[in-house]
Symmetry: C2
Subunit: 191 residues, 2 copies
Amino acid sequence: MIHKLIDYIELYTALSVAEKEDLKELVEIRQFEKHAVIFREGQISTDIYFVLEGCVRLFYDVDGTDKTAFFYTEGQFICAGESYTFSKPAAENYEVLENSTLCIFSKKTIEKLMQRSIAFENIARIAVENELLTAQRIIASFVTQSAEERYTDLLKNQGELFLRVPQHYIATFLGVSPETLSRIKQRVTRR
Amino acid sequence: MIHKLIDYIELYTALSVAEKEDLKELVEIRQFEKHAVIFREGQISTDIYFVLEGCVRLFYDVDGTDKTAFFYTEGQFICAGESYTFSKPAAENYEVLENSTLCIFSKKTIEKLMQRSIAFENIARIAVENELLTAQRIIASFVTQSAEERYTDLLKNQGELFLRVPQHYIATFLGVSPETLSRIKQRVTRR
DNA sequence: GTGATTTCTTGACGATCGTCAAGGAGATGT
DNA sequence: ACATCTCCTTGACGATCGTCAAGAAATCAC
């Protein structure tokens, strides 16, 4: 299963035999069942996750209602940034939406990997940069587009999400209520 | 003037004498007048900027209307990420809102700095990570808060912005039209 | 397969929003 | 000081949105 992680990494950087061995030795792989919460608000995050198979959502609990802010699928790193970097309680939750297989990188594992090879530092840097680009695209979409435009763009660019994920989660990701997304769909398909 | 850059950097990492000399030698400092556009959409970005004094906004031109997505003030790095990393035309513009003093790091300068000391790599990493945290906070605010809540939070956390920046720019940053921000202000102060 | 649970849709209604337009206030330049 | 320009406010109106509630559809568990 770890070979999948290696495959994803080698999309960016080739790894030496020793580096691959390091990963096999240090990285934990764990299965999560649908609906499992891998990380809950209030906890202090000491791990970074990587999605090998499946799908995870980031959500906030706002006065008892559920607001999902992001979906992570195969090939993406998951990190509760604020909590991880400052060792303070997280404000967000992460829930597995399908039976999923994740890599778990503990802080110690990451330290060891960084020490053993600069390749792992580069990978970390690229991962963070990619996340930043994604985040900035999302902000741009909130500032420059209507909810309807965000919906049609998501359909075009990540249409698979609609097949994998309940729509009311996608609704809040787009910044609207589930009822509104239902009506936007109706409005759009009627054209 | 370069000492200001050094002061900001040393909030995170102490610099050796040699490293400070590297910065003095390689980093360009330039003055920009209010309303100057330091970078326009369609251009390919080869520089990273750092705000020593003043204020810059990132904005998109959407069908002729202006949507500002972010404000950069003293101590922040400015980088047109997509354009810089993939050498493709940028979709966004950067405009100076006050007479400002910026550092300019060309790609070559950055390469040289990275070669000369690992400290500069660490600084780059921390800067990117900070930007990511900020971006994720903004996304969370769009997903979990109303426009009015985003307004009151901005007032509490970055109230100086309202003294430095025209309100119609802040409006689109909050995701609403200038008229709506005006009415939100009225609504809020009436309580 | 049947019942239970979850998810999606639809209706109604009040709140909020964007847009167009006009007017006023403040800053700027000469 | 005056005219100009930019920015902010206010009004009106139609569009969109959130919420509450009910019902339909799909999914899940046994």
